[in-house]
Each structure stands twice: as structure tokens, then as C-alpha cells.
């Protein structure tokens, strides 16, 4: 009993702070990776609010890769690495799909702004959510691969309420 509980404490103290995933660029592949990410962050005792924020950001970024970089072909892989520090989540998404148009990050315009009430937008929320919930975002195209680096604060001030 004593041995078991001290083992449990040691295991908790050494919960991983680094996650590396490689998965098919499909909607189901993304969903499964998000489940792994949630489990990883919960094991590292990250609060529910920050876990939710990270899942929203990663869902948007990873689905963009599946839908646009690989054009829903499913013929390709996505690599996701996530590193936790005391105050932030750092993630990098790598894929070998098509580059972002113009080799730059899309603007963070709010879809509702300037949109008539009788013609509400059904899309265009993805990059807006990513920009809203991240503290830093860097895109690079290197040797035919896309690299999106994402930083999110783990402090409560990361989202204005």
C-alpha cells in the first residue's frame, strides 16, 4: 500500500510535459488527436478552462490543415508537438500539404462585423478563434512543409470575459 501510493506520487510528479503525435490528415484523425491532447493536458493537471481553449485552437488549426492544405484528400500526415511550461502551452503543427495562400497567416477579422443580420456567416470563424485565443502565432514554409507555431498563455488573463 505504501509502496503503491509513493509510486503514484512519483508518477504524478513526472507526468509528461511534452506530447508528440503523428496522424492521418482526416477529420477523424484530428478528432482522435484532440482526444489525446485533452488527456495529456488533464494528466498534467491543466485546468478545464485552459484545456478547452487549447482544444478549440488546435481543432481549428488541425482542421485547416486537413481541409485546406490537404484539401480533404486524407492523403497525408500531420505532426503535432505540444510542450507545457509553467505559464504557457507551445505547440507546433507540421504538414506537407499546400502552403497557406500568399505564404502568410490569414487576418483575424471577426466574421460578424459588417455582416447583415439576414445573411449570417456560416464560416470564417476558425482563424478568428485561433487569433483570439493565442498569444503568438508564427507560420513558416520550409522545404515543402508548413510549420505553424502556436503559443497560448496558461494564465487566466488569456481571455477577456
Amino acid at each position: 500500500m505504501t509502496a503503491a501510493s509513493s509510486f503514484a506520487r512519483a508518477a504524478t510528479a513526472k507526468h509528461p510535459r511534452h506530447l508528440c503525435l503523428k496522424f492521418a490528415a482526416t477529420q477523424d484523425g484530428v478528432r482522435s488527436a484532440l482526444g489525446d491532447l485533452r488527456g495529456f493536458m488533464q494528466a498534467a493537471r491543466i485546468g478545464a478552462d485552459a484545456c478547452g481553449t487549447a482544444e478549440i485552437v488546435m481543432a481549428e488549426a488541425l482542421n485547416n490543415v486537413a481541409e485546406h492544405a490537404y484539401r480533404m484528400s486524407g492523403a497525408g500526415d500531420i505532426e503535432l508537438t505540444v510542450r507545457l511550461t509553467q505559464s504557457a502551452v507551445s505547440a507546433c503543427i507540421t504538414d506537407a500539404g499546400a502552403p497557406l495562400p500568399g505564404l502568410c497567416l490569414p487576418e483575424a477579422e471577426a466574421p460578424l462585423d459588417g455582416s447583415p443580420q439576414d445573411n449570417l456567416p456560416e464560416g470564417g470563424f476558425g482563424w478568428f478563434l485561433i487569433h483570439s485565443l493565442t498569444s503568438a502565432l508564427t507560420y513558416r514554409r520550409v522545404d515543402g512543409t508548413n510549420h505553424l507555431a502556436i503559443e497560448m498563455d496558461l494564465l487566466p488573463a488569456s481571455e477577456a470575459r
Binding site: 477529420q27 477523424d28 484530428v30 478528432r31 478545464a48 478552462d49 478547452g52 481553449t53 482544444e55 478549440i56 481543432a59 481549428e60 482542421n63 486537413a66 481541409e67 471577426a110 466574421p111 460578424l112 443580420q117 439576414d118 449570417l120 456567416p121 456560416e122 464560416g123 470564417g124 470563424f125 476558425g126 478568428f128 478563434l129 483570439s132 485565443l133 481571455e159 470575459r161
Partner: protein, 112 residues
């Protein structure tokens, strides 16, 4: 997608019996909602109490559902869980939809 439907007050309450409305589920959600609301004439209350997570595709599908049901009928929302509420708040879609805390407070409020 598993949706269940019942009548409560003036509303047709449609409950989403799934934990996610995400990119993988958005089309199935839209189709199931279209089927559930095709015959009705009541306003619709979409019960999201079992939904832990939506992404932008899921949000788009809910906006599409609003257009599908309207303009003659309303589509209101109830029982948003924290991560779902966050997506509505950030995109300001909480200003477009009427959002109820519970199913009980929706019907009496309309009567008054």
C-alpha cells in the same frame, strides 16, 4: 447524429445526444436537424446540455440550422456547457441567438 425531439410549452425541444459537434459531425448534425424540424411549425429550442465541444464547423452548422428553421420559426439555444459557451462568446454569436440557462426557464419566459 442522434437527436431527440419533444414538445415543451411552445417549443419543440431538440436534444443533441452527442458530445461533439465538430468538423467530423457538422454535416450529420445539419441533416439530422433538418429531418427533425421538417414537419414542425413550433419554434425550436436546441438543447446542447450533452455537448462538451463545438468547433467553427459546428458553430457554422448551428447558424445554418437557424436559417433552415427560420424566418417564420425561432431557433433558441439552451444549456451551453463551458467550452461551447466560450465559442459563442468569442465569435459574438451569443448576440445573435437567445440562450437559455435551462429548459425550464425558456417556456415560461415566452408566455410572459
Amino acid at each position: 447524429m442522434d437527436l431527440s425531439s419533444s414538445l415543451k410549452g411552445d417549443y419543440q425541444v431538440i436534444t443533441v445526444n452527442a458530445p461533439r459537434i465538430d468538423a467530423a459531425a457538422a454535416i450529420a448534425f445539419k441533416e439530422a436537424l433538418r429531418t427533425q424540424t421538417a414537419e414542425g411549425t413550433c419554434d425550436v429550442l436546441l438543447d446542447l446540455g450533452a455537448v462538451d465541444f463545438i468547433d467553427s464547423s459546428g458553430l457554422g452548422a448551428i447558424v445554418a440550422a437557424l436559417k433552415l428553421v427560420g424566418p417564420a420559426r425561432r431557433l433558441d439555444l439552451a444549456r451551453l456547457t463551458p467550452d461551447v459557451a466560450k465559442v459563442f462568446r468569442l465569435t459574438r454569436m451569443n448576440t445573435i441567438f437567445t440562450i437559455h440557462e435551462g429548459l425550464e426557464d425558456a417556456a415560461p419566459r415566452r408566455a410572459g
